[in-house]
Symmetry: C2
Subunit: 459 residues, 2 copies
């Protein structure tokens, strides 16, 4: 049952459906993975909602020529954008600039390099937003409410309302936001344009008050004013997740994993292979724990599910190699014939991830900066062993889970080693009560509340 | 004539004199270079002031056994500290941690690594400060006023006043200060200890209100309170500098440089080979200028004086190599038989640097973050060509020179290319009036005012 009334337009770079063209020339749609999509799609299915997204593959581009497509209870409209504009906007501006700034990932002595090539990419980013604005101006229903998702389309709201004053929009950031020290890194005119663009929406939403506060501080410094913000963390859909957990693929994966582990306890992390996720220090912390606690050797396995992404950027390729190297170093250092301390699994397999979430004793979420981190809420919903959550205080989700988890400074390897050992040694009653508290926190909100918060900002 | 009355103790890691042991076994002292020393030593010469510093070389260590040494109108006391403690405190904590944090130089996805080795280094840093406190407690005159210089001795004030309640101290930072986003990177206990240590001085001084504000913000977040701060930028000593300029070594260097340049205009930078100085982007900006302005090719030379330092840290060695590589790329790209676009000179030769300051048409100071940058004030004092100052807004000195210089965002290569071209093309009257204004700014204060500001904080 849809919770949404009135015409709604969702806009994001990546859509909820991937289109393919069959041998018969027919289009077929496949629901994508990812927290945003899995949480949101069921809510808007059947409502007067259309989802606009960039065409990513050949199937999406074929779909774009057909306009709005009804599929799986969703109305989806893909936009075929000039490949060079898309590549520059997405790779150079979104992934290599905005993502890096919002997460504080630059090695500032060397990067970024705001040169002439970057200025062209910024023009492409502006054009990318204009193309969405033009299409929506032509197609959006009267008085539609437009929910813009993420930094790929930060300029969209005001571009659209200039063309269609009847349409109102909000912007929601799934990332942290660059504080003044980092927004000052951008070329001045681009920083102003970015913040003016976001401020031109009815309101800007974030998963955590900290990101909202960083955004307002950057706006104060650059624009001299504070645009309206709101805070509304996304939440997983418990039924959806438990449905996956009970599906045959996930059950089989669970049996396999559980048989391999036997009596061993499991420290689990589930991430994209992403610089902000702090996978290297996670392994170093585990290594430090094994060094200082010989009694724990052989009794525990660290399973790191880290599916690769953005491998078009050299930073990601090299990070993946570093992660594999460190895992190897730790395994060679401590491993025995019958025990491999770390298993690094790069497959992108959601049912297997959910299976692992059922089985963990410790869920390790240690990003250096993270918009929310949905895994920290998904884990407690399906975990069956009263697993302990060790969580970075730099993740947005820490706001919600701090009372029922072990918080860590993600840069402090020694502190993380102690936290992992402490989590493994937590008493049964303590684990049970924390796990129950975490489940309550994770169930307190669903994606419906998050969606409703955005719509409420428009009125 | 000394401006100082009453017993004063200056404390810094590097002292004003380097001691050597001659063939005859006799100690001899040699005045060191560097802004702090050259500005301060003449002021305190002859007053009741003793300068405490760590023994750095073998001569300094020999001097340490003799206690306070009178030399060149200065009383100097070197402290011989266990080599391992000194190395860990200086290399690991001061140079590889505090300097990096205060300047925002970390590639945070990978570094820092706060592991067990770092915890040992932090203990060494604490011990380093305690050794100074113990020595000063035994030796400082009654009611001495202690002026602690820089982050090497941030814990000293309260350690000393616990031992000697009659002694009062201020702490002066010659660097920027880590804002809350970066102070949070340190292990919590060490961050608290650092900030408590600084806050335990009578007051903490900075070159710019921005650094004082970052310090207070970090204290608010970590300590829950704001210690007293003051702002007092160091200033060069015009007479001292002009004395060097008129000396034979500098005059000869000037003739050689001027003859080589002929009619060519000179863009000059003078730095340590230091990641925060942004030397790479400076070359890229010059490269972009030459690309977009064929008419300027052959008419200008970029002289980069960048004496190497801290080469014990791999980051500095590799940065030096990158700088040399980029200079080479630009020279190969644009150079002709009779024109080398960039000259990179790694000699540490103060008279030659001063000679170059006389000759520049554009002084380029583009750090990504810099406590003050004294060169931006020294240049205008001796320059003879109404040279234009192109200055990063992220340097502390920008507070003072903004009305008489061309400000740049140091990350924006295109903007810096435009600024360099604009500086070369500024009209004669504009250059003359800006150069006069800069000279007035640089002469408005001297090191005496800076020293007096610190003493005034003690009362």
């Amino acid at each position: 049952m849809p919770i949404v009334t009135g015409p709604i337009v969702l806009v994001s770079n990546r859509g909820p459906v991937s289109f393919g063209v069959g041998a018969d020339g027919e289009l077929s749609g496949r629901r994508g993975g990812g927290g945003l999509v899995s949480g949101l799609a069921p809510l808007v299915a059947g409502s007067d909602t259309t989802w606009y997204a960039a065409a990513l593959g050949d199937g999406d581009r074929a779909a774009a020529t057909e306009g709005v497509i009804e599929t799986d209870d969703l109305r989806v409209r893909t936009l075929a954008i000039d490949a060079d504009i898309q590549r520059q906007a997405y790779d150079v501006v979104c992934n290599a600039t905005l993502w890096f700034l919002h997460h504080g990932l630059y090695d500032l002595a060397r990067r970024p390099r705001f040169d002439g090539r970057w200025q062209k990419a910024w023009s492409a980013y502006r054009r990318f937003n204009e193309i969405f604005a033009d299409t929506l101006a032509a197609e959006a229903p009267a008085n539609a409410r437009v929910l813009v998702q993420d930094y790929h389309l930060a300029l969209l709201g005001p571009l659209l309302s200039r063309r269609r004053p009847d349409v109102r929009s909000v912007h929601f950031s799934h990332t942290p936001f660059a504080p003044p020290h980092l927004i000052r890194v951008m070329p001045d005119q681009a920083a102003t344009e970015l913040l003016e663009g976001m401020a031109g929406h009815g309101a800007c939403g974030f998963h955590s008050e900290r990101w909202a506060s960083d955004f307002r501080a950057s706006c104060r410094e650059v624009l001299g004013r504070e645009p309206p913000t709101f805070v509304s963390p996304l939440a997983p859909d418990p039924a959806d997740l438990r449905g996956v957990a009970n599906g045959p693929a996930s059950r089989e994966a669970f049996e396999t994993l559980d048989a391999r582990l036997g009596d061993r306890r499991l420290i689990l992390r589930v991430d994209r292979m992403e610089l902000s996720k702090n996978i290297l220090r996670g392994f170093w912390a585990y290594d430090a724990m094994l060094e200082s606690r010989p009694d724990l050797r052989g009794t525990v396995e660290f399973l790191a599910l880290g599916y690769p992404s953005r491998e078009g950027l050299p930073e990601y390729l090299s990070y993946r190699q570093e992660v594999a190297t460190v895992a190897d170093v730790v395994n060679r250092r401590w491993g025995k014939e019958d025990w491999q301390p770390i298993t690094l699994d790069l497959a992108d397999d959601f049912p297997s991830s959910v299976a692992a979430l059922r089985r963990y004793d410790v869920l390790f979420v240690n990003p250096i900066r993270d918009g929310l981190n949905l895994v920290a809420l998904e884990g407690p919903l399906v975990n069956e062993r009263d697993g302990v959550l060790v969580v970075s205080r730099e993740a947005g989700v820490w706001d919600q889970v701090r009372s029922a988890s072990i918080a860590v400074n993600p840069y402090d390897i020694e502190a993380q080693a102690r936290a992992l050992a402490g989590a493994l040694e937590a008493s049964g009653p303590e684990r049970t009560s924390q796990a129950r508290a975490l489940r309550d926190i994770a169930e307190a909100r669903g994606p419906g509340e998050w969606l409703a918060d955005q719509l409420a900002q428009i009125g």
